[in-house]
């Protein structure tokens, strides 16, 4: 029955999942233990097990815990979204950041703030609508002749869309001083200073997005074999694509609302997951859900530790990790099959 015995040896899903979970546990501990401030690992771990002083207790539960939780939610959402988008567009380079989905989300937030919105709770719906528009563009472009079958060209179009939206955002930020002050740091992408209520507001949409993805996982798996195959297996291709688009928009929009645009996570994580368990999206998605947070938190810990006592924006670290992966994927003689 099992096909993968014929191909290169891959880890089975459960061992891979266990490995990823172990990695995530280590990273979560590190994220709670290390910081840019004065509370070192011993004091932080002491506070975690109830024996530390007040300052350490506050830093760990009041600052690092929300941040870690935000990282987990954002990382899962971006990792899964990347895997789904790559399957739906049938393109190993389709990444929410590169294809302009994140740019759509952050553009929508910039515009809404410039139009007078200010409550942080409004970010998520607006960002989701923006992400949806980005998705429509990306998958629409992927269906054009000559663009869809050329992965790199689709990425170029996405990058062009991103930079155009980015420059319109800059235009808005330049005209409106208030908007600029409010989201100067948000537009780079960071986890610092996120609190529990903010995370709770996006939880429903993230869960909804994951639910949509899980519902569509079989048709998506068939879709990765081609539209014809999926159709002959009885799946409705168009509905699957629209559903996948909606799921990706919910995930990316929610994640962007919390952390700002964070690039390359949706590229690196599915890439690693495919290396672990093979190209089948039914296995890739659970691994992505665990590896995404692990990557984000590693990047976040690095962002805290590299330039102490100040911090680097998270998006800077992920770009550093992700851009080499992008180059590696492109350098590969044949793009990896999906």
């Amino acid at each position: 029955m099992r096909r993968e015995q014929n191909t290169a040896p891959r880890l089975r899903v459960l061992p891979a999942l266990a490995l990823s979970l172990a990695l995530l546990a280590v990273v979560v501990t590190a994220s709670l233990a290390f910081g840019a401030g004065g509370v070192g690992p011993e004091r932080a771990l002491g506070a975690l097990f109830g024996s530390g002083d007040d300052e350490a207790h506050f830093v760990v539960t009041g600052l690092r815990l929300p941040r870690t939780l935000a990282g987990i939610v954002v990382g899962s959402a971006l990792g899964i979204a990347g895997a789904v988008l790559q399957t739906a567009a049938r393109n190993p380079l389709a990444e929410p950041g590169l294809l302009g989905v994140s740019a759509g989300a952050s553009f929508a937030v910039v515009v809404s703030i410039a139009l007078g919105a200010s409550a942080a709770t409004l970010y998520a719906p607006v960002a989701i609508i923006g992400a949806l528009l980005g998705c429509v563009f990306a998958l629409g472009a992927a269906r054009l002749r000559g663009v869809g079958d050329d992965p790199i060209r689709l990425v170029l179009a996405g990058v062009a869309l991103s930079s155009m939206l980015g420059s319109v955002s800059s235009l808005v930020l330049l005209i409106d001083q208030r908007t600029r002050d409010e989201i100067r740091f948000w537009t780079i992408g960071a986890l610092a200073g996120r609190n529990i209520p903010t995370i709770v507001t996006i939880l429903p949409t993230v869960v909804l997005g994951i639910a949509i993805v899980l519902l569509l996982i079989r048709p998506l798996a068939a879709l990765s074999l081609g539209d014809q195959v999926a159709r002959s297996l009885g799946h409705r291709v168009r509905m699957t694509r629209i559903g996948a688009m909606l799921g990706v928009a919910l995930l990316v929009g929610s994640a962007t609302a919390v952390s700002g645009p964070i690039g390359f996570v949706g590229l690196v994580v599915p890439f690693a997951a495919r290396a672990l368990v093979g190209p089948d999206i039914r296995r890739v998605v659970p691994i992505c859900a665990v590896l995404g947070p692990a990557l984000i938190l590693v990047a976040d810990v690095l962002a805290r530790m590299l330039v102490r006592p100040s911090e680097m924006p998270l998006g800077v670290v992920t770009a550093f990790v992700g851009a080499p992966v992008l180059v590696a994927v492109v350098r590969a003689q044949r793009l990896p099959a999906l």
Partner: protein, 359 residues
Amino acid sequence: MNTVSDRRPMAGSHTAPPGHLLLRYREWSVLVLYRGVLATLGLTIAMFFVAGLALALGTADLNPLTALAAAFGTGTEQDVFIVRELRLPRVVTGILVGMALGTGGCLMQTLARNRLATPGIVGIDNGATAFAVASVVALTTGLAPSGMSLAGSITALVLVLALSGGTGTRGYRFLVVGIGVGAVFGSITNYLLARAPIDSANAAYPWTVGSLNARAGGSVALLAIGLAITLPVAVFLGRQLSTMRLSDQVAQSLGISVRRVRVGTLMVAVTLSALSVAVAGPVGMIALLAPEAARYLAGPRTVPVLGSAVAGALFTVLADLAGRTLFAPIEIPVGVITAVVGGPYLLWVLLRSSSRRII
């Protein structure tokens, strides 16, 4: 005159082929396409017209003739001050930056045989910006940005070339590797700005999107000198590249050192892009649009280096004029205007044709 035909005993060497102009001086002669000359002339006239408008329009609108007179030092003291001290340096800077961008774009596009392979898209501008911002944050001398941005652009180019294995004839891999390298440098720039105190970060912000506002005298002078040296070289390289468009073998058999032309083209493009970034930051899309316009006017038979330079100057001054006047009193950096206008065009180029061959 007879000596010319003696030395070059080609049949009909006295008369130019149809559509061409034969320029000669003693034993040197050069064939120039009429249409290319006309295109360059037309673009130059348009450029001077827009430059005149840019001198006249602004917070205080002047009569174009008054502005022109003031530029030469006649008129009321106030007019002369506005035009000569405030607007003229800016217009001249715009012209220089635009010429550098247009020339670099035209050379790179022709070399890679891909109209998307401009210094801005393949990450060279980002490298230059990252290094220049580093120098602005850390050092405060006037000449530092030019040197640093040159170092940055060369670093970026070397990285992109090494990682992608050359520009290739189908430069898609070159482009995406360039985007990756550009992303790394872009994040370095963001990082530097995020670390800087909020006041200096706000001051540097317009500059990172490309603006003619933050120009420093030393960098502008360097850009002018660089242009004066490289533009003739670029015109010469353009003629060689024009032959290389056929194929490397043909060019080689016609006596062109393909390798030398390649290296020279990349060096000129990188230098021009770095010098212009040091003055105005990464003004995007000019390097894409200007050669496009020049090619449209001059036709496909020539590589319009001069035309691209003039078109670049035209577009830059026009975009800066729009940025100064559209949302007055707020000033929009020229790079934002060019990105907003050029972005849709870039998308159209990417999504339009079904063939892979773009140029």
